[in-house]
């Protein structure tokens, strides 16, 4: 009984983590600017990796494997923001400006401009 509950909770964590990682990867693929891509990748590297590792901890029970997972999670939580900050600082030093760039070719432009008055129109 407790094994079934553990498996269900671990599966929920795993699915949530995989979903977050996929959303972050879609963001890295579709965002228009380097800094917005960094913002999307931080989601994948924090929420996705963290939830998947927590799900594996719940799924695997309390053994030496759990200790390895805790160390891996701690290392990623310490080093991910540091690497992201170093990347953003190097990009700023290289002369990239965060701001309005042109829309990237892989992201489709809006067909209709967004207005507050166009709520009842047929498209």
């Amino acid at each position: 009984m407790i094994d079934l509950a553990r498996e269900i909770v671990g599966a929920l964590f795993l699915v949530a983590g995989g979903t977050f990682f996929l959303i972050g990867a879609i963001g890295v693929h579709r965002m228009p600017d380097l800094f917005t891509r960094i913002h999307a990748a931080s989601l994948a590297d924090t929420a996705g990796v963290g939830l998947v590792l927590i799900g594996l901890m719940v799924y695997g029970g309390l053994t030496l494997v759990t200790v390895k997972l805790v160390f891996l999670l701690l290392f990623l939580m310490f080093m991910g923001p540091v690497a992201t900050h170093a990347l953003a600082a190097a990009a700023l030093q290289a002369g990239l400006k965060p701001g309005a760039e042109k829309r990237h070719a892989s992201s489709p432009a809006r067909k209709t401009p967004v207005t507050r008055k166009g709520r009842g129109k047929s498209r």
Binding site: A25, G48, L96
Partner: protein, 91 residues
């Protein structure tokens, strides 16, 4: 559920590879490479649990160390033009 999470992460790695090939700047490619490394760590952990061999986590830990060392090496090389030259070599 392990297989579902593994499939989601493999699809994510495919998208990140597209960004790494298409990225306009060096930093886009480095960001995508860093995220690909994180995805590889997760793939190793999930595959180890899926096949009943959790010893793959040691490989994942090594991948994490190498991933960040490589990222910082590329960033330092881009900033300073060398990887720690001797003091008399610096102009």
């Amino acid at each position: 559920m392990l297989a579902a999470a593994l499939f989601a992460i493999l699809v994510s790695i495919a998208l990140l590879v597209v960004r790494a090939l298409r990225g306009p700047t060096v930093f886009d490619r480095l960001l995508a490479a860093n995220s690909i490394g994180n995805g590889a760590i997760l793939v190793l952990a999930l595959f180890g649990f899926l096949t009943g061999r959790p010893e793959f986590l040691d490989l994942g830990l090594t991948y994490a160390l190498l991933n960040y060392v490589g990222a910082f090496a590329v960033l330092k090389f881009y900033r300073e033009g060398s990887l720690g030259a001797a003091p008399e070599d610096r102009a």
